[in-house]
Amino acid sequence: MPQVKIIARNFMDMVAALPAMKLDQLYQNAFICEAILRSLPPLAKKYVIQMLFIEEAVTVKSMEEWVLPDGMSKHKVAIDRLLQLRIFSETFDRSSGTSYSLNPTFQSNLQKQITCGGVLPREPMPLTITNRLPSLEDLEAYALEQWECFLLQLINSAQAEKMTNISSSMMRIFQRGLLTQREKEPPRLTESGFQFLLMDTNAQLWYIIREYISNSEERDVDSADLISFLLELSFHATGEAYNMNTLTEVQRNTLKDLADLGLVKLQQGRKDSWFIPTKLATNLSVSLTDSSSRKEGFVVLETNFRMYAYSTSKLHCEILRLFSRIEYQLPNLIVGAITKESLYNAFENGITSEQIISFLQQNAHARVADRIPSVPENVTDQIRLWESDLNRVEMTPAHFYDEFPSRDVFEAACDFAREYGGLLWEDSKKMRLVVKTDVHMHMREHLRRQRQ
């Protein structure tokens, strides 16, 4: 799903923005190397794998020969990314010119990863100590509950029945950008807040984690440590218990916050305490590549615009309320309809028709998901039509020019405006011109010069 990729790439951009020393420190962890490899654009991945067992540097020229001429732009993007992440380093040699070589730590770690397989710094604990582990379904239910509680609290504290243990200052950090708070008014969702709600769970997770990490510096926690711990966590096995005594103090504190988000489950025995990663955590590394993990859909949309959502979750109800009119709620079913008014409401809040349609398509119920199209076309077409109905008139601040002394001056002015991309309308017969206001100053200069 491209959306998740964009958000995850933002996370990788953050990693790439770390100072050189921290990046090199990060690469000492083999799992980070693998996670970063997963997040690279496909051509970059190919280059890394090709260079993996080559000891010497490869010249830029020979690398360019690996690509067909129409792939040059993708080649440049890949090389830029590799240089930015300091995976490739440039060396200049008078005889052979510039060449690229792989970062040695990165290279050796990845080689080990490929040949010996990844070895986590901790082993799952034996069942004798942990007794009975929660089953995978229990774990998933727990993770979902925590995550939904967190989201509900994020968007509207009044709605959440159970308050999570996340401190209010942390909540405020996550809410920054998603909610606006005006005096004496309850906090309202911003446009990005609405879009956030309609995003896929993995995209939402990456966003929250990114905010968490960018905020870590203020709490005196090293962001590189945090990133390496999080990426390492995503490679653990779901459902296995890992002892907490293998973690540092910082990592333990982080785990407590992650437990509130539903990424891990903390449990305590008589002597030891352990954590169990849930699917949310392990999906983090999977979602770095383009593979989509399809979760259970729950929405059935009919051609008469009626919507049936088989869900009991409050969060789903809130999300559906964003763009549809909820008519009634039954114990396992939410019945609603998509109406013009409900959609206008959504459009006013900054949600686009594409977001609504992709949300409906991604969450289509299993019964209708296999149908092509999963959402009836008359509904999707109508949603798009209603959106364009709101934008029938386009207004641009502009200047109107007429009374040109001669046709040549008029033609010259037209070309000039066209070069600046500011020509809105022209009438050659009557020699009249409409140009955008931002180009007006340049136009005035041009006309003054023409007169001389």
Binding site: R392, V393, P397, H399, F400, W425, V434
Partner: protein, 71 residues
């Protein structure tokens, strides 16, 4: 000498253009806002009327829609 007038360039479909021209005609002379009618889909109007035009269009749209009474 070339003459420059500042204003707002309006681009829309033909029915909307006619609606705006009609709106202009219904106003008293001091409040008329269309400077030039460029062709049947473009107009050049005074800069401050953007919101007024949008409100008028929204009202026109609401008059044309039926909402099922709830309850």
């Amino acid at each position: 000498m070339v003459n420059a007038t500042k204003g707002l360039f309006v681009s829309c479909d033909i029915p909307m253009a006619q609606f705006i021209i009609n709106l202009n005609a219904s106003l008293p002379a001091s409040q008329k806002f269309i400077i030039h009618v460029l062709d049947n889909t473009h107009l050049f109007v005074q800069p401050h009327v953007a919101d007024m035009i949008r409100n008028a269009i929204a009202e026109f749209r609401e008059q044309n829609s039926y909402e099922k009474p709830t309850g």
